[in-house]
Structure formats: C-alpha cells, structure tokens
C-alpha cells in the first residue's frame, strides 16, 4: 500500500463516529465607513475618502510627490507592469496603486486577486501600497466577505502595511512588504 492509501486507511480506522456539520449563523455587524476607518487605522493603515475615482491621480501626487516609479492600472504616467514583468523592474517600484475588490469593516482587510495585482508580487515588493476601493464594497465581517469573494487562482486579504514584532515585541512597520498602506475609497 502506498503512503496515501495507508494514511487514508488509518484515518478511516481511527476516526470517531460522524458528528454533524453545523450551519453558520448569519453574523451581522457594523459595515459603516467609520468602523472601516477605525479598523484600518488600528492595523497601521490610512483611509482617505475621495469624491470620485478620478481624484486618485491628484491624491497620489500629494502623498508621494517625489515618487518616480509608480505602477498602476488606475492612474497615468506609470511603469507598465504585467504578469511577465522582470524582477529588476519590480524591485524598483516605489508606489503601487491598485484596485481592491472588497473591504471588511471589522478588521480593515481588503481583498484583491491576481487580476488586480498586475503581477503577483507587486502588492508585496512595492515600497508603498495604495488600494482603491468602491465604497459600496465594504462588508461588515469575514463571513460576509467569504460569501462574496470566490476562490480565484490567488487572492489575498491585506490589512495594513507589512509589519513584525519579532524583535523584543517592538512593532516595526515595513517588514518585508510595503512600508505603508493607504486605502482610497470612492463612490460610483
């Protein structure tokens, strides 16, 4: 018997009697912008409410006046990044401005998939990350989030900038990934 079959046989032999699968109750919660903002700030991020998605470019210029290497499919005058972009180009990216699909008010997490990332590494290799999100796409908690997002090839919830507390429990923002995360919301 190969390892697969013998592991499965052992599991079958040793498992307890079937216990029923419970249904998940509908956990309701606060999906207000105030709650979303609070959670983002708690995770070390920053939220800016825009009037329209057209304001993105102006805000990016204000936030990163000296940034030269910007990758985005939302604003103009940027470095083209796609799934086969070279590592040498990717590692020089200062700011990435990408779409987020959905936001979670309870923890400030934003869902984005490979389709929004331009390159799978971009949201992680960039020095600063900006995610642009439609206001209508804010849900209260993870239960609602998982009922909406589907398992694409690769998808990530991102909550705040990359961080670590591995040295004496001191919080350091900007571990391996982005040193800051800014969420820009807009109404359609």
């Amino acid at each position: 018997m190969n390892s697969r079959d013998s592991i499965l046989a052992q599991v079958k032999n040793n498992k307890p009697a079937l216990s029923p699968l419970v249904d998940l109750p509908p956990f309701e919660g606060d999906c207000s912008m105030a709650m979303f903002k609070k959670s983002i700030e708690l995770s070390g991020g920053k939220l800016i409410e825009m009037n329209s998605v057209a304001d993105t470019e102006k805000i990016i210029l204000e936030l990163f006046p000296s940034a030269k290497q910007i990758a985005s499919d939302i604003i103009r005058g940027t470095i083209a990044v796609h799934s086969s972009t070279d590592n040498i180009v990717l590692r020089q990216i200062e700011v990435a401005v990408l779409h987020g699909q959905l936001g979670v008010a309870e923890n400030g997490a934003i869902w984005l998939t490979e389709d929004e990332m331009l390159h799978r590494t971009l949201p992680f290799i960039t020095q600063y990350l900006v995610l642009v999100l439609k206001k209508e796409m804010i849900v209260s908690n993870m239960h609602h989030a998982y009922s909406i997002v589907v398992p694409s090839a690769y998808g990530v919830f991102i909550s705040g900038p990359s961080k670590t507390a591995d040295i004496e429990q001191s919080l350091v923002i900007g571990a391996h990934g982005p040193r800051s995360l800014t969420i820009l919301t807009y109404q359609e």
Binding site: I7, Q10, R91, G108, S159
Partner: protein
C-alpha cells in the same frame, strides 16, 4: 537520558531578570488577545463553532482529504503524501532536485521544524533561508524556535543586534529594532528575488476548493512564493477544513487569539499556480492518525497553532519554550508530544499547574488541561514516572486514604517544620520546591482542630 522539563527550565531561570522579562512580554500578548477577543460580541460563539467544525472534520477526515486532493489536482496542484518526517523530507528534496532548485526561501512552518527539514536539505547541498524575521534570527543563531508564533521571543534586542552584526554586518552594538528589521529586509529582498523555490506552511486547507491559506504579518510568504518558480506547501492532515465559508470563522479567531490583531496583515489563498510555475502540497501524517485513534487525546488535532495557550501558561512564561525540547512547546505541545514518544516527553504533562488557563483561551476549545491530567495517568500506568514522584504519590495516596494517618502526619509535619532551621528547610538541594520560594510558617493547629474548637465557641 533526555533532560526533563524542570532541568531545562532551571537553566532558563538562572537569569532572573530575563525570566521576568519573558514572563511579562508574553503576558502582554495574552492581554492583547483579551482585548481583541472581547472586541467582538460573538467570540465565544465562534470558539464553539470552530470547535464543532473541527470535530466534524476529524470525524470525516478521510473523505475531506480525498476531496481536497481531487480539487487541488483539478487546480493544477501536485499532491504528495508522507507517512513520516523522513518521507516528507525526501519528497521535498526530490521536488527540488527535479526542478533544479538550489536556493530556497521558506516562510514559517512548524511542520518543517517538526520534520527537521532544514538540516536535511542543507546536508544535500541546498540553501534554505528562513524568511520570517523571528525564524531568520534563530536560523542565524542555529537555535530552534521557542514559540510557534513568536519564534525568537526568548531573545533580547541586544542578542539580535549581536547576531546581525556577525551575519549581516550591522554596526556593533546596534540594537534598535527598527534598524535591525531594516537590515533584515534589505538582506532578505535579495533572497526573495533570486530564489528558485519557496516552501511554506499551511494554516488552512479548504477541501471544497483545494486551496491552501497562509497567514503572515510580514508578507514574506507571498514574496517568496510569488517570485519562485516552485511552491511547496507542507501541511499536516489536520489542517483541512471542509468549506470556503468556514474560513470566516477561523480567520476571525486565529489572529485575535495569537497576537491580539483582528486579522493577520496577509491572509493569502493559493488555489492555482501561476502559469509556468508549479505548486505542490505535501500532506503529512507523522503520528497524527495515531493521535486520531486516541479517544481522550484526538481533540488536540483541532489545534490551529495560535499559541494562546503558551502566552497564558504560567509555567511556559517562566520556563521558556526551549525547556520543552519539542517543536511545539507549552501546553499544546505537552499533549501532542507524548503521542510521539511517551518516554522521551514524559516530563511535559507535568509542566503544568493544571490551572486550566490554556483551555480557557483555546480558540477551538481543546480541553488541554484535562488531557495533561490524562497523560499523567498513562505515564504512571506505564511506570515511567521518576522514582521520587512515583513514591511521593504512593505515600500521599496512603496518607490521604487514612484519616488517622493523615492527622498524625499533619501533627508530625507541623512539629518538624517548626523545629527545623530555615536554612535546612529552604535548602534548595534538600527541598527543590524551595528553589524560587520559601515555605510559610506552619500553623499551630490543623484546620480540623480549629474548626471543632471554633464551632464549640458559638
């Protein structure tokens, strides 16, 4: 003979200030956990749900494993099965050799620690770099992790500064966490970009979709996996959860219980490999099916490795993770390890006051302190208790079962304790109990006598 928990803890306790610091650092994490847990009103309901989802999963695990495998294969993932650590390591090496991968980046995986994968790969000429900052620190120091979530919690910033000075060339005496982390960032970015393959652990494996979910704060798993041409995700059979929707329950519990965050910075769902890249999942048993067959202990397989039981444990906090001499230290490790080697780990179920704090904080409601107690029974039955413990238990049992002997024993003890000089009574060599404390003065009478007398007065 293997050193016992108390022997190793004694070594840790030699530095009193550091022990106190360690204790307080972990208690701080426990407090953060409390505020995050009570920050959502349904926290207790989520614990119950998580526990029942895991219970159901374990009771149907063979079917879920097969459906995970089928869905993963459909997604283009290659699935491997390993009976034990040796087979696991061989599978990983084989994948690396076949794909001509020489430089490997690895994100945190307690399972690969359990299998001692790093030394095995290094012996076979492969460079493995741990990329989680805590793991990287201890890898440079050639130490095992002392905590499953905070692997370098036993170290002070000066220790890290010294290590980085030697290995990464940071200035001597540099101990600022911000600057040390920055040095590691620069060093590891090179590794991410030039790696051939990435190894990761798995927090949750979703049977319904064949996805594996990895949770990190640093972003090291995503950087490693997305730059590499080969991704190998290593998981134990117990990481399975039935459905995508169940992730809502577990992601709300994991980070709250672990570090007191509402969610980890990155919760990454790997379902299909990138075009031109390959993704492997290695599913490991290594004693887990055996534990599944132990009625009293199978619930330990519900564990989601949050580390809350360690942060809250008064024994762990003051003895350090290395004193457990097992990959997973603390209360949960003390109920997992005897399954693998009862004799070697026989001191671990005793490294507890049975206060039950671990059970109280466990996000999947494992009855940890009850299982610790049950392992003690088995250790006594198997006759592998240390001699002093065996005989003192026997004497206590006789004494407690015989009221006359108990009264006499009490009188004798009060007398002897009163006339014995302090330096003998609290001598560490004669009385190991007195190592970090002093015996109180014995009362004049027993509680029984006091009770009879005070009842008469009324």
């Amino acid at each position: 003979m293997t050193a016992t928990h108390s022997q190793l803890a004694e070594a840790f306790n030699k530095d009193f200030d550091r022990t106190t610091w360690h204790d307080e650092a972990l208690w701080f994490v426990r407090q953060k956990r409390d505020s995050a847990a009570y920050g959502i009103k349904e926290f207790q309901e989520l614990r119950e749900l998580a526990s029942r989802i895991k219970e159901h999963t374990l009771s149907n695990l063979d079917k879920y494993l097969v459906s995970f495998e089928q869905n993963a294969i459909r997604n283009g993932v290659i699935v491997h099965w390993a009976m034990d650590a040796e087979e696991h390591n061989k599978i990983v090496l084989d994948i690396l050799l076949k794909s001509n991968s020489k430089r490997i980046v690895k994100s945190k995986s307690m399972l690969t620690e359990e299998c001692h994968l790093n030394p095995y790969l290094q012996k076979n000429g492969i460079e493995v770099v741990d990329t989680d900052l805590g793991e990287h620190i201890i890898q440079l120091r050639k130490e095992p992790p002392s905590h499953i979530v905070l692997p370098a919690i036993h170290l002070k910033k000066e220790d890290v500064g010294n290590t980085f000075h030697h290995h990464l060339g940071t200035p001597a005496h540099e101990s600022d966490p911000q600057r040390l982390a920055e040095a590691a960032r620069q060093h590891l970015r090179e590794k991410f970009i030039s790696s051939d393959a990435a190894i990761s652990g798995v927090n949750f494996a979703v049977a319904e979709t064949g996805s594996v979910v990895v949770c990190t704060n640093e972003g090291n798993a995503d950087l490693g996996i997305n730059f590499a041409k080969v991704h190998i995700a290593c998981m134990g059979i117990e990481k399975i959860i039935p459905a995508w929707d169940h992730l809502g329950v577990f992601t709300r519990l994991l980070a709250r219980s672990a570090t007191g965050q509402s969610i980890t910075t990155y919760t990454s769902h790997f379902t299909k490999p990138l075009e031109g890249a390959t993704m492997h999942v290695v599913i490991l048993d290594n004693g887990r099916t055996k534990q599944l067959g132990r009625e009293d202990f199978r619930n330990s397989l519900k564990c989601i490795r949050c580390g809350a039981c360690m942060n809250t444990c008064p024994v762990y906090r003051r003895s350090g993770g290395h004193s457990y001499n097992f990959t997973v230290p603390g209360p949960i490790g003390s109920i997992l390890s005897p399954n693998l080697d009862l004799k070697k780990y026989s001191s671990l179920p005793f490294a507890s006051t049975l206060c039950g704090s671990c059970t109280f904080v466990c996000p999947v409601k494992i009855d940890i302190h009850v299982q610790l107690y049950k392992w003690r029974q088995i250790i006594a039955e198997e006759n592998i208790l240390p001699v002093y413990k065996k005989w003192s238990m026997k004497i206590m049992a006789t004494l407690l079962a015989n009221p006359l002997l108990y009264d006499l024993g009490g009188k004798l003890a009060r007398y002897v304790l009163r006339i014995t000089p302090d330096r003998i009574l609290n001598n560490n060599w004669l009385n190991s109990w007195a190592k970090a404390r002093e015996l109180p003065k014995p009362p004049k009478t027993s509680f029984k006598t006091w009770y009879i007398q005070s009842s008469k007065k009324k």
